[in-house]
């Protein structure tokens, strides 16, 4: 139904569409970035599916300020559904296989930069943003997703359990394993990519 405001005729459907476009355009970098952290295939498709679902259910968004979190949740839902559809049987990593891993200790013991006074900080500084993504992509998705959502996107563990539709205990266990695997893969990647050779003796 059209409303007449002064001489201007405002179509609610046009208003709705305009509001959606503002939200979608504002959130594009965030959605694309999030999708790239979650997966290394079909990233753009994931964002498109998210935009389509968000557009179709835009009426359910009651408060504009909740828009960013709402649309990110739609993207995570899409990612979760895709994981289910692909139905790959992912072998859960046994905690005993990885619990001994400590990147802190490995760096101290291997001492990759013997002239450094800030060994651990220098190790992290050797990684660019794309290196971090490459390490994340070495993790099975079931471990990568909680790690990304917790420590890169800042969601609380309870929210992650709800978003991924997994019990809180499973979410916490996967976070724990994800962190250990991330530490292991950071060291392995640094060795393979030559990041540890970067520092010359003074």
């Amino acid at each position: 139904m059209e409303q007449v405001v002064g001489e201007i005729v405002v179509d609610p459907e046009d208003e709705r569409r305009a509001a959606f476009e503002v939200l979608a355009r504002e959130q594009l970098p965030r959605l694309y970035g999030l999708a790239r952290r979650l997966t290394n295939h079909g990233t753009e498709d994931l964002v498109q599916e998210c935009l389509l679902k968000a557009y179709r259910s835009f009426d359910t968004l009651r408060f504009t300020e909740a828009g960013p979190a709402w649309i990110q949740q739609i993207l995570v839902n899409g990612f979760r559904d895709r994981l289910r559809k692909e139905a790959r049987s992912v072998q859960e990593v046994g905690v005993e296989e990885i619990d001994h891993i400590s990147l802190y200790r490995t760096i101290a013991e291997e001492d990759p930069f013997p002239y450094s006074d800030t060994l651990h900080g220098d190790f992290l500084a050797a990684f660019g943003n794309e290196d971090v993504r490459a390490v994340l992509m070495r993790l099975p998705e079931i471990y990568r997703a909680p790690l990304v959502l917790r420590y890169m996107e800042g969601f609380a563990t309870k929210e992650i359990a709800r978003m991924m539709d997994t019990p809180l205990g499973t979410t916490l266990a996967r976070l724990h394993r994800g962190r250990k695997l991330f530490e292991r893969e950071m060291w392995a990647y640094a060795e393979e990519a030559g990041l540890l050779d970067a520092k010359e003796a003074p």
């Binding site: 970035g33 619990d99 420590y151 916490l172």
Partner: protein
């Protein structure tokens, strides 16, 4: 120190959960009690904090121009 001590391996495996404050109050206290006297685990704790900040600061939300153009066109055509 708390009534029960825990070994370094237990403290280290719970450090991130300790920082996330998702441990039970008893376990939270046990880790804290361990950290009060174990210098090596304090090093692990500091590194865990560094690694968390490092992950948070690695977030880049940029869209390559060609992808941005395609996605914006997609929004227009919805």
């Amino acid at each position: 120190m708390t009534e029960r001590a825990i070994p370094c391996s237990d403290a280290v495996s719970q450090l991130w959960d300790y920082l996330d404050k998702v441990l039970s109050p008893e376990d939270q206290a046990l880790v804290e009690g361990h950290l009060a006297f174990c210098r090596r685990c304090c090093g692990e704790l500091e590194f865990a904090k560094e690694l968390r900040s490092f992950l948070a600061s690695s977030v880049v939300d940029e869209v390559p121009p060609d992808v941005k153009e395609r996605l914006e066109r997609f929004v227009d055509e919805l």
